[in-house]
Symmetry: C2
């Protein structure tokens, strides 16, 4: 079994060595010895759990900056959807690699994704060494034939998972209540229960979604999902911006996980901010995500952390809301737990960790590590990234970086010319 010894890092404020065997943390202590394996000099570095990106569309890196500062429907109809319609499986592979590169460079080792061409994103995750929960987009638009194709896709992907490592996991990705029929939502709920897979859905992102639902069903979106028996602890609901009190209670009672995506919500001007304080008070587990690159436009979870913590203070009118250590836990250890990942800097757990370089102005003087991480740093403070026992980045270098960037530029040029 391969081993790796990280020497002289700071862990929980004290010097420590971390010994990794295979894909797990084997020992944490002082002056550990390991003659067989690789050694990393961690002097000046602080070891921390990795960031967990709760919601993204990885391959949309190919759309970064392609269309911004536009009204939502014009943006989707004239820019995003036509561009996406031209994406091949190979393009999604290239775009997903770029996303993995960017997430590694900002300290995330896991992301929760929803996109087209599932196998391409899975291939990128395998190659790049990250972990991900991947859901193929399921949209039927009320069309039964399209629904049938989607249902077959779900069954086929799930039936063919044997070739993948444990780092890639499969989830169902009903896009939203306004793009998937009640029948297909029920199909996915049953499938999820029977096969024990998570569900990833966009929920209550815009006021328009709520109004349309109220008009057609006399129910708000969360009430509607409850009425068809869709809610449950396996559901990860992205956005949750426009929620009535009774909806918050329903999410809590059904142990749905809510994913807060503040940067995207502001950029697209969806007309609100997730009522995070009310959700956490009700006992809902809240995670953080970046969204895809066409609506953020970067995948740096450090930035999402700062937006989330500051918006919580602004929203409550109380600067003590979402203190730095809570924000940090929300984006790391708490999120890992919500996704069922056995992560954390303890013996026996999976060897996912980051080494942060605090020898830079934004960590000086250095009174409070969590405050510096959340309010002052950005993803560039991450020097080294380990995932599943493997070093994915060392001294900010990731293998194959130049080729990934060149490939993405080449694909983007072709896609633009075709448009």
């Amino acid at each position: 079994m391969k081993s790796l010894l990280i020497r002289n890092v700071v862990l929980n404020g004290k010097p420590a060595d971390i010994l990794v065997r295979g894909n797990r943390i084997s020992r944490i202590g002082r002056n550990l010895e390991d003659k067989a394996g690789r050694t990393i000099d961690g002097r000046g570095m602080t070891a921390l759990p990795p960031l967990i990106n709760g919601h993204t569309h990885a391959a949309m890196t190919l759309l970064r900056g392609y269309a911004d500062d536009m009204g939502l429907m014009e943006w989707l109809q004239t820019k995003i959807w036509p561009f996406e319609g031209r994406l091949t499986k190979d393009d999604v592979l290239v775009g997903s690699r770029l996303a993995c590169l960017e997430m590694i460079k900002s300290g995330a080792t896991f992301f929760n994704d929803m996109y087209w061409h599932w196998h391409a994103t899975a291939e990128a995750v395998e190659e790049m060494g990250l972990r991900a929960l991947l859901s193929p987009v399921f949209i039927d638009g009320g069309d039964e034939a399209r629904g049938e194709t989607n249902r077959r896709m779900v069954e086929e992907i799930h039936g063919g998972l044997d070739g993948y490592s444990g780092r890639v996991r499969f989830a169902l990705g009903p896009h939203a209540i306004y793009t998937v029929s009640a029948d297909n939502l029920r199909f996915m709920k049953e499938f999820a229960r029977a096969q024990n897979v998570p569900i990833h859905i966009h929920l209550s992102e815009t006021a328009d979604e709520v109004q349309t639902c109220l008009k057609s069903r006399k129910l708000r979106p969360v009430e509607y999902l409850d009425s068809i028996g869709f809610l449950g602890p396996e559901v990860f609901a992205a956005h949750c911006v426009h929620l009535a009190e009774k909806e918050i209670d329903l999410l809590a009672a059904n142990r749905v996980k809510a994913i807060h995506i503040p940067v995207s919500n502001l950029k697209l001007a969806v007309g609100g901010i997730m009522p995070m304080a009310a959700l956490t008070k009700a006992g809902v587990s809240v995670l953080l995500g970046t969204d895809g690159c066409s609506s953020n436009n970067c995948l740096d979870m450090f930035q999402t952390l700062k937006f989330a913590a500051l918006l919580a203070k602004h929203q409550s009118g109380n600067p003590t809301s979402m203190p730095a250590h809570e924000a940090w836990a929300m984006a790391t250890t708490d999120a890992a737990r919500a996704f069922g990942l056995d992560l954390g800097l303890e013996e026996g757990r999976l060897a996912d960790l980051i080494l942060v370089d605090r020898e830079r102005p934004e960590f000086v003087p250095g009174y409070n590590l969590y405050s510096d991480l959340v309010y002052s740093a950005n993803g560039y403070c991450v020097d080294t990234v380990l995932c599943d026992g493997r070093v994915l980045m060392s001294r900010r270098k990731v293998s194959g970086e130049k080729e990934i960037i060149d490939d993405a530029r080449r694909v983007a040029r072709r896609l633009c010319q075709a448009g």
Copy 2:
């Protein structure tokens, strides 16, 4: 006269060489020759104007992370003010150097400052090679003797400016309407007019400031300043969060510059966001600033740019508000003009510029430079910084960086032990 040739950069989308002589841009063209001076290889780099930090308290880097997530008055009274009371001139020099380092590393070459120990910040600016408009804090707390001491300080500093380079400029720094008497505000207005110096003041940051003013003077803060003849084009008003319509008209009519400080406003939960759309519609010149490190907690203007652009969309409910190119101009060329700086990437102008490295994931594919700068990048994309014709950073290295960081940590330890 010293010269510097920057070869093969991208400027306005095309390859160019930039020849600097002394402190000005001498020529811009292709295949320029210069045998005498230094040459910088700019391949892969994009030349851009530098960022302008419209409001900060540089030496407060020493308080970064010292006290966060606290209520405003408890924070000021139990943490910030006692700590500041212990700061010596030497401490301010050390803290200001750290701030200059951080601003250089995120591409700002000018900052508008208000703090104690004016000469120490001026010394740091001179040493580090930046530009700044520096105002000593003027607080009288209604105490005539203290006002008299402050007035003498203003006259002494202004009388002793001969030793400073053109990079350091002096401004008056009446802290706010609730800490400076009407008499002293009038003194400063007269001094500013007679001596042709700018005024830098905090204005309408909190709802409390407005309520207190209304209660004691039956006027809102801007109306009060108008009633004593204080407003004018030399006034830089920081925050401007809580403004009534008639106050916006007064600011416009008097050509006051308003400084938007979104990160600090959210973090301290001041109860609002500057009504930027209304201000710019009324013709008020709006600049952007970071605030000091105790309320942000970093000095990266790229981050402030993204917060400002996204909050503008959120506030208006319109994703087309504050498009990327406008945001970029607001933080660079427009701000330079407001501070009377002859900056811009044109022949004859002052040689302040940054070279941005786009060979990183957050600039890929690279459809739209301004979108990538505002929505995707952070200050770490800045590779090289020129100010006044001098190279302050090259390949992200700044001279003396380690000593500056070590000094700040040493001073911070002493200040904490003394507390």
